[in-house]
Structure formats: C-alpha cells, structure tokens
Amino acid sequence: MDLLDFARGPALQIGLYVFAFGVAFRLASLLLLPRLKDLSAARKGAPGAVVASGREIIRRMWPQSVYAEATRFTTINGYIFHLGLAIIVFLGTPHILFLKGLIGVSWPGLPTNIINGVAVITFLSLIAALVHRLQSPVLKAISTANDYITWLVTMLPVATGLLAISHLGWRYETLLAVHILSIAVFLIWFPFGKLMHAFLIFLSRGTTGAHLAHRGAQL
C-alpha cells in the first residue's frame, strides 16, 4: 500500500469515523443534559422557545450596528474564510466526486479556476486571521493551544490543496496523498477542538434566544 492508498483508505476512513462518532457523542452528551426550566412568568407576548431560538440563530449572523465597527475585521474576514471553505468543499468538482462516494448524490461544481481563486482568497484570509490573533492583545490573552491547532488543521487542507493543483514540490500523487491526510487530521480533530462550533453555534444561540426572549428582551 503506497501513501496515496493509505490516505484514501484507512486514514480517511478513521478520520470519518472519529468525526461522526465524536460529533454524535458530544452533541448527545449535551442534548441529554437536563435543560433549565424557567419558572418565572414569561413577558406578555413573548415568543415560545422554538421560535425565539430560531430567530436568534438567524439574527446573530450579523452583528448589531452598534458593534459593527468594533467587530468589522473579525466578521468580514470570518465570513470570507467560512464561505471560502464551504465553496471549496461543496462546489469543487473533485470534492463533489468524493462526497458522491460517501452519500451517493452529486451536483454541478464550479469551474476549476474559480475554485482555485476562492482557495487563494481563503488561504490569505486564514493567514490574516492568524496575524490578527497574534497581534491583538485581547486575542493573545484569550488564545489557547486549541485555537492554534484548529487554525493549523484548517489551513493544512487549503494549503496542500493549493500545492496539489499547482503541482508544486512533490509529485502530484504525493501532494494529493498529503492533502487527503490533512483532511483526515481535520476530521479527527473536529470533535475535540473548537471546530465543534459548527454545531454548537445552533445550541448556544438558541439557548440565549429562548432565555432572553422569555423576558421580552430585544437582543
């Protein structure tokens, strides 16, 4: 078994299993905990918990105008690399073919040069995020190993993907194997680190939405 076979086979399989079971375990361990029942009287006209949670999940997709200036870089740069990653993963033709092998369905992808352009922008955006974290006194104070490991495992698939399509360095098969291995590492780290926010965002926003809407507080 050569490196590419290993990456495509056992490495990716282990990554997918750890991802699936890890995410399921973390979500189950949270969802099975008792939720606080608020015994105070709800404000007249307050929406129910489900509606309030849904509203809050959507409302927090963009900061309130009062905070727009202070959060501009984080918000805009955050959207750039999140959307970039989503476009690369879900609209890049090689990735669609990989996903078809997993879930059995496929959809049209974007032209390769567009995906390559998005990958470059995403790469630069992730670099900007790291520089910001290293330069901001607040971010330096609150950052932990989790932040840097998460940045690294997110950056590696983007960087190795760019190297693979550029045929830079090693031969293509080796670059592709390294790219797939980096994805396996990403999947393995996912449930243990802050990548879990992709799922937790719905729970935490929803919890606060229900908590404060009960009071009639306009967030």
Binding site: R26, L30, L31, L33, P34, R35, L36, D38, L39, S40, A41, R43, A46, E56, R60, P63, Q64, V66, Y67, A70, T71, T74, T75, G78, S136, P137, V138, L139, K140, A141, I142, S143, T144, N146, D147, F192, K194, M196, H197, L200, I201, L203, S204, R205, G206, T207, T208, G209, H211, L212, H214, R215, G216, A217, Q218, L219
Partner: protein
C-alpha cells in the same frame, strides 16, 4: 480530608473543593453549552465597559468562563479520561476573583455581541456562588448579604427604622405613605439605597401611587427588594430575601409587587426569584417604570410638561435584560419636551459600572470611576445638563463618580421628575383596581 488550603502569605484559607463542587453543580444543558461554545474571537471585549475603560485584556469577558470550564474539563473531557486534565486550583480562584466580582456587572452587553450567543452573565452568577462557597469575594459585598439576612436590608434598614423613616417622610412631605395596610392591591418595595440616600424617591413613588388612586402599601414583613444574597453568590440569603416579600404579599393579599428604581432588584425578583424558590410566584412583579406606564395607559397619570433638557441612562437589568426599555420612553413621551437620547441608547446603552453589586465593593471604586468616563462622554455628546435613571444603584454609582471628577452635570431619578410634574388639577378620580 480537609479541603481548605492556605497560601504561604497568610491570606485567609479558601475551600477549593467547595468551589469546584458548586461549579460542577452547573450541569444544565444551558450552562455546559455556553462553556463549550466559546471560539475565542474576542469580540466581547468591544462590548465590555471594564475592558473599554482600562484596555486591559484580562477584562475580556471570555476569560470569565475559564474557571468553570476548567472544573468541568477536569471531570469530563478526553484529557480527564486519561488523567491529564488539570484540576481547578486555589491560584486559579484567587487570580480570577476580581474578574468574577469587581469587574463584571452582569450587564449582558457581551452577550449581545457574542456571535455564539454565550450568556456570560449567567456563568458569572453561578461562578460567584462557587467563589463565595470557597470563602472568596469582596468582604463588603458579603457583609451586605449578611446584613440583609440579619437586619432586613444591606444598609441596616430594620423594620423599625423603615417605620421611623416612613413616618418622618410622610410628615415632612405631607404625603400619605401606608405601611402594613391590612388589604392592598399593590405591595410597593424599597431599595435601601433610596431609603437611606435618596428618600425623595420614596416620597415620589408615594405621590404617584396616591395620585393614580392605587390601593397600595409598604410592608414591614418584606420591604427590601435589592437582593444582595443573589449578588454575593449566597443563595440561602437570596432565598430568605425573596421569601420575605412573598410572605408580605400574601399578608396583604396583593396581586402585584412593584419594584422601585433598582435594576438588579427587578431582575432578581422578576426573573430569578421563581427559579431560586423552585416554584412560580403567586403574584406579578412590575418595575416601577412598567407600573407607571400601565397607569399612564389607563389615563391615571396626568403630567405637566417638562421643558428641561435631559438624557436617560438605561439600567441594564431593566432595559437590555429586563425587556422594559420602551416603558421609560412611553412615560417620557408627550411629557418631556426636550428629552435627548444618548448614543448608544436603549438596549445598547453602556452600563454605569456599578451593577451586580460592584457599587458596594469599595476596592472597585477606581475602576468604576474609569468606567464612568464612558457615561460622561455619552451625556456630554447630547448637550443636556441632566442625566436621569430609573435605578438608584446606577444613580449612586454615577453620583460618586460625579463627585470624584467634579463633573458639573445633574443626576436624577425618573420617578422623582415624574412626581415633580404631577398635574393634580386634572387629578384622575381615585380608582380602586
């Protein structure tokens, strides 16, 4: 096995195990979700007045999650499974004590900006219980909680003193202030800050209630609505204070409890009390601004126009976290002809810096004064000379900083300006509710 640890420098020993147990007791899905969700984006710093006033990264609200998170990770995380998750230490608690007490007013601005929606104030409230269990926390805050339990109020307002005070205020101002009326529709409560420092607020509330023909009373059985047990993380005192008001309400048969100008008193009685007692309250709780707005809607509050220029400071627990932002504006609408909103205002207004019991912490005075500079800038930008609020705790915090800076602006109370402008020539007929 002793759980008490004592540092070499001779500081009071603290009970780390008790704190850990309290933090681990916060096992609801709500809290654990918050603990696990922080992405360390740092946006909360932009919303925190303590960070904005000091630019010290230690005051980033995200850091206030760490002690509870560490306790939880030491118990249940992949590293804990292999015995590598460090436990919460005495050093952790001592080094973060000021973050949990002195530099958090639980104002909720950080919750507003957090992209994950983490409610840091909820975490801080439970953390205070843990630190208090360990024997930490500012001594004056803890003493205020003890005085509430032992004397009836944090400032030593005993039932006897309340009776004397009310009698004096009623005589001095020729206003009827009922105490321990056998039957009343409304139980009015006090904040001891008003009673001891701003007694004109008590008179103002009485005048407004009498003007509208409300059947109301104070009660010597339960009068103090500021709950320092809650603020100090002492749940048993919090429960005692709530039970006193519940008992007083039952004794008078009142259906409504009105909280005076105190933001945290409102937040605790309106939203936390039922959860602390473990049962719904058998009466409705209204903040005085909400109740007066109700009276105005019913045509029972007639006011003469007020032309003086002024601006309004939103108490966090009434506006942002209380859902009553609009009622203060409704009261001012059509009455205050030169009311100027500050920026930001309403739900986004900056905290005064003294909420959550921080006002009572002598050692936090310097940082409170720094925070007040934000408010001074807000007020000065409006061009108004007068700043009013609907919270006596905010008012006291701002008055102290005003004196510190010799700031030449007036600070007042919403209830007092309303009472000063009652139109008794068009007095509504006394209406029994």
């Amino acid at each position: 096995m002793s759980t008490m640890t004592s540092p070499a420098d001779g500081a009071k020993p603290i009970d780390v195990a008790a704190a850990t147990a309290k933090l681990l007791g916060a096992t609801s899905g709500n809290m654990v979700t918050y603990l696990q969700s922080c992405v360390h984006c740092g946006q909360c710093a932009a919303a925190c007045h303590f960070y904005q006033a000091t630019k010290d990264p230690r005051h980033t609200p995200a850091l206030k999650l760490r002690p509870m998170l560490k306790a939880h990770r030491a118990k249940s995380s992949p590293l804990a499974w292999i015995g590598l998750a460090p436990a919460l230490t005495e050093r952790d608690l001592r080094e973060t004590e000021d973050l949990i007490f002195d530099t958090c007013t639980m104002c909720g601005r950080c919750t507003q900006v957090c992209p994950m929606g983490i409610d840091v104030a909820s975490i801080v409230q439970i953390s205070r219980q843990a630190y208090a269990a360990a024997g930490l926390g500012p001594s004056d805050l803890m003493a205020a909680a003890d005085a509430s339990r032992d004397k009836g109020s944090p400032l030593g307002l005993t039932p006897e003193k309340l009776e004397e005070r009310i009698e004096w205020l009623a005589d001095e101002n020729e206003v009827d202030i009922p105490l321990d009326k056998a039957k009343a529709d409304v139980l009015l409560t006090v904040s001891s800050i008003e009673t001891m420092k701003y007694p004109s607020s008590i008179v103002a509330m009485a005048k407004l209630m009498n003007h509208a023909g409300v059947n109301w009373t104070f009660s010597s059985k339960g009068y103090e609505s500021t709950n320092f047990g809650y603020l100090a993380g002492n749940t048993s005192v919090a429960r005692v204070m709530i039970e006193r008001i519940v008992a007083a309400t039952a004794a008078t048969g009142a259906k409504t409890v009105v909280i005076p100008e105190c933001g945290h008193a409102f937040g605790v009685m309106r939203y936390a009390a039922a959860n602390i007692l473990g049962r719904p309250l058998p009466f409705e709780v209204r903040h005085i601004t909400e109740y007066l707005a109700d009276l105005k809607r019913q045509g029972r509050l007639r006011l003469k126009p007020m032309a003086d220029a002024f601006t309004y400071h939103d108490p966090c627990q009434i506006s942002r976290r209380g859902g009553a932002t609009a009622d203060a504006r409704y009261l001012l609408d059509g009455f205050a002809t030169d009311f100027r909103e500050m920026s930001p205002t309403g739900n986004f207004n900056w905290c005064c810096g003294g909420g959550g019991g921080v006002q009572a912490m002598g050692r936090a005075a310097d940082v409170r004064h720094k925070v007040f500079k934000i408010k001074m800038d807000q007020v000065e930008a409006t061009g108004a000379n007068t700043l009013i609020s609907a919270c006596s705790n905010c008012r006291l915090t701002m008055d102290e900083s005003k004196a510190h800076y010799h700031w030449p602006h007036e600070i007042g109370s919403l209830v007092e300006i309303l009472a000063d402008h009652l139109d008794d020539t068009a007095r509504p007929a006394a209406a029994a509710e």
